[in-house]
Symmetry: C2
Subunit: 369 residues, 2 copies
């Protein structure tokens, strides 16, 4: 029986696992990189996730390892597994969240809808792809990117000389003419049980998620869920799986990115769903039955609170922000920095999405975020 | 600005404050009596709340002191306050939660409905009260009682010789012929803002709360709220105030007990209300605006999970219990003991109270609790 869950990474996702772990009576321990992490309340060890000895020592204090982020090197995870440590999601699934090239190849093999893509080993490869795709494409480093980093729009191989010089294989994809971005959150446990939340609409600003609407208005819920289930099963994912999707003009869906952990697009579920993504992730990795994902209101809006500068945290403005009716505030307890995710707010409504959104925006303004 | 809230007592109420404190970005520190307390995740100091030096040292690490229980001696709280420590609720309010005789006197002065009562200094006092109240009454020790302890049904002063011998003043009350028990939860902040949840029905077994139905079917919501508001204001309460009420045959309400902290009868609010009693208590004592208390479903049922014996904790049965749809489980992480409050479950329903109750009972059975 799993009694202690170990989370690698001390960010806000680990922080938001504390509440459901406490409710479920699971002990939660966090391997944080620094003393003053977002999840410091549960931090039982400080050290780097790239150091095998650190991670192995941490693993000995818990019954299962899971993640706040996908940056733990695959070699470390594979070595833990061969030492008998339970890692959820397992390395053979996480590979596809860590490496976008492997992910594209695997999804194509599974017959799932993805943008056109190719491996790029040289400037010639890239120029050839550009010629057959209207002279513009999205170039990605297969590993290490997040929140818009490691992604670049290119119109010629000259736009990518710095990356090409590194001699590493790159991933090029067609620039999808999407009308909006969606995200399908779901979870799968070790027994293969699978549960999805409604597909949501995500709004990005400068490559960072700024807003999530649940459910995504007029979206093809069934198709999004079908894609997510095929990925969860095809890749053998345990825990929460976030599938970021492009919706094209004709309403069809293409898979953009994957994450195998709770995800920014699922924060609304803390208040908006019978079982939140954080509780569901813990249930899944602790080999418990999954919870029901029904919505507790017709509409939910989540807005990220981004840092303005190093001084201006929204904490000073709580009194104004918390006056707005029905505002659920989540502070991540992080040092402020311009553009940094400092917290989020969720507002539920049974009236309309717009009504929820107006209250959320009002609270965001009041919080000076 | 209050950034760190200190909670005296490491029980389940402190434990359940961890989640909203984390969300609000308030640091929570707990003074626990033992290493392995229910709230150990937030325990920053181990020591006894009856030791002034311990409590004063703890107070120096936080911005405001609040409580998991009402057992901290009044002298200690008054001394903290005279040393400039913020204590919420303050000692002048807590006096009435600690001393039932003072509470009865104060509520009578405020013209609030209470059972007939009298001070008992001698066997003669008690026998006189019994003669004028049908030969049966409820005798209470003014301080120190909880969950049925310190309360006794008496038919003659002979039933109370052991207590009378102690030479302390006792409280005697008429034995109210109530049809059911209700509880009105509300909260008041330092600025005098006040918010109530719906009045709930509580069901006791062996003097311990076993079940809570929210809202109490066909109850006089307005009258219950009016009484609670008069008490919160009349006694100068900060934070959550629980008013336990008797409902008599004619539907009128009499105040039974008070608690000035989150209360077992308000656990349903974690999932059932826009703002839970734990978040509201923190908002109130941290001088933040109170949150909205609207219900997220038409009906909510909370069942306590009591320990069966020292071995049989319900944890082993999670897999069966969590399969029941829509069950919100809260484990208190405590050592099992027969009759001990080990956790609770909440089930919401928009269909009927009975539908919620059936699912909750099914989960309780599956958990072997």
């Amino acid at each position: 029986m799993i009694k202690t869950v170990g989370v690698i990474g001390g960010g806000q996702l680990a922080r938001m696992m504390i509440a459901p772990a406490t409710a479920l009576g699971l002990e939660i321990k966090v391997l944080a990189e620094a003393e003053n992490s977002s999840a410091k309340l549960a931090a039982s060890m400080i050290g780097h996730y790239r150091d095998y000895a650190t991670v192995a020592a941490f693993a000995r204090t818990v019954d299962v390892i899971t993640f706040d982020h996908e940056h733990v090197p695959l070699e470390i995870l594979e070595r833990l597994e061969s030492d008998g440590v339970k890692v959820q999601p397992c390395s053979s699934a996480l590979e596809f969240a860590q490496n976008k090239l492997h992910m594209r190849r695997k999804l194509s093999e599974l017959g799932l809808p993805v943008p056109d893509w190719a491996e790029v080993h040289s400037a010639a490869d890239l120029d050839e792809f550009l010629q057959t795709h209207g002279g513009v494409a999205v170039l990605k480093t297969p590993t290490g990117g997040y929140d818009g980093k490691g992604v670049r729009i290119v119109r010629s191989s000259a736009d990518a000389l710095d990356w090409l010089e590194l001699g590493k294989v790159l991933l090029v994809e067609e620039k999808v003419d999407f009308v909006r971005e969606l995200a399908q959150l779901s979870a799968r446990n070790i027994n293969g049980e699978w549960q999805a939340w409604p597909v949501v609409q995500t709004v990005q600003a400068d490559g960072v998620c700024s807003e999530v609407l649940s459910p995504a208005p007029k979206a093809d819920q069934a198709r999004a869920a079908e894609i997510a289930k095929a990925i969860a099963e095809g890749l053998g994912v345990t825990g929460v799986l976030a599938v970021e999707l492009f919706e094209t003009v004709d309403g069809s869906l293409l898979v953009n990115e994957l994450a195998m952990r709770p995800h920014n697009s699922g924060h609304f579920s803390i208040e908006g769903s019978t079982t939140s993504q954080f509780e569901q992730h813990l249930r899944a990795v602790a080999n418990l039955p999954l919870g029901e994902t029904s919505a507790l209101s017709k509409f939910a809006v989540m807005l990220n609170l981004l840092g303005v500068d190093e001084k201006n945290t929204f904490v000073e403005h709580y009194t104004e922000g918390l006056k707005i009716l029905g505002v659920h505030l989540h502070s991540y307890g992080k040092q402020a920095r311009a553009g940094r995710k400092m917290g989020h707010i969720t507002v539920l409504s049974d009236v309309s999405m717009d009504e929820a959104r107006q209250r959320a925006l009002e609270a965001k303004r009041a919080l000076h975020a």
